[in-house]
């Protein structure tokens, strides 16, 4: 289900999430930026994967299709510390050709995200 890049980041689907959409990224050498903090690129990778999981799930409910990234805007709110990070995406609009998705990443509390992203995808319906 998840692509090789998700394995590189150490991502897995959170078994405690009822919707099966929430991802977990454990802290580790491969995702460190400056010492003691997550790399912004690794956080962005988690956000993009969370967005794709949410979008694929929404598309499956409508007969499936392929997606291509158009763009992503990431806001970094807090430094990511040495602990697991959660990522979750929400499809705000699934159109015929374009999907708008929002994703958030957090550690202790979902109400205090460490980063958030808005992502646009081209949708090619099957």
């Amino acid at each position: 289900m998840l692509p090789p890049y998700a394995d590189l980041l150490g991502l897995s689907i959170d078994p405690e999430d009822e919707d099966g959409c929430r991802l977990i990224m454990p802290f580790g050498d491969g995702v460190v930026g400056r010492p003691g903090f997550l790399h912004g690129g690794a956080i962005s990778g988690l956000l993009e994967m969370a967005a794709i999981v949410a979008l694929r799930q929404a598309l499956e409910g409508e007969g499936g299709g392929r997606i291509k990234p158009i763009n992503v805007t990431v806001d970094f709110m807090r430094g990511g510390r040495e602990k697991p990070t959660y990522g979750s995406g929400i499809v705000t609009r699934l159109g015929k050709r374009v999907a708008n998705v929002e994703a958030a990443a957090w550690q202790d509390d979902r109400a205090t995200p460490i980063a958030a992203a808005r992502l646009n995808y081209l949708v090619i319906r099957e």
Partner: protein, 146 residues
């Protein structure tokens, strides 16, 4: 004689010595630099693939590279290292990267104010006139740039 005045930020040395972690996991390396820009290289690796059907790498590694290239560009324009954090980064994916090709990321810092540095850049996989991504973003220095 002041040693601080003769200090010149060296991105090549920084990438060789100081950039382990996520950058090392992606295989990021120094490529070139100028007075306010840095180029990094991201070699193709099947472990970075985002779409197994096409073999195209995910967009995340390109964003990681552009985040680092633009961050280094700020320190080059400043002529000094300064603790700072990415405030936001936008990436437009103009076309997929070609499977097997090394991606080059060109990051430039075009303005630094007291607290904020403004950056932009492009990524290509061989021909700079045929970019695959375009980025714009900002960095913030908690203790200021000046």
């Amino acid at each position: 004689m002041s040693t601080a005045a003769s200090f010149v930020f060296d991105p090549e040395r920084f990438m060789r010595n100081g950039a382990g972690g996520h950058g090392a996991r992606l295989g990021l390396s120094y490529h070139a630099h100028g007075p306010d820009w840095v180029e990094l290289a991201l070699p193709y690796d099947p472990a970075m693939v985002g779409d197994p059907e096409s073999g195209v790498i995910a967009s995340g590694p390109i964003l990681s590279m552009m985040d680092m290239a633009t961050s280094l560009a700020v320190w080059l324009k400043l002529g000094d290292f300064r603790s700072h954090a990415t405030l936001d980064l936008r990436v437009d994916y103009l076309r997929p990267a070609r499977p097997g090709r090394t991606v080059i990321g060109h990051g430039q810092c075009y303005r630094i104010t007291r607290a904020i540095a403004f950056v932009r850049g492009q990524a290509h996989d061989g021909d700079p006139d045929d970019p695959l991504a375009h980025v714009a973003g900002t960095f913030m220095a908690p203790e200021g740039y000046s």
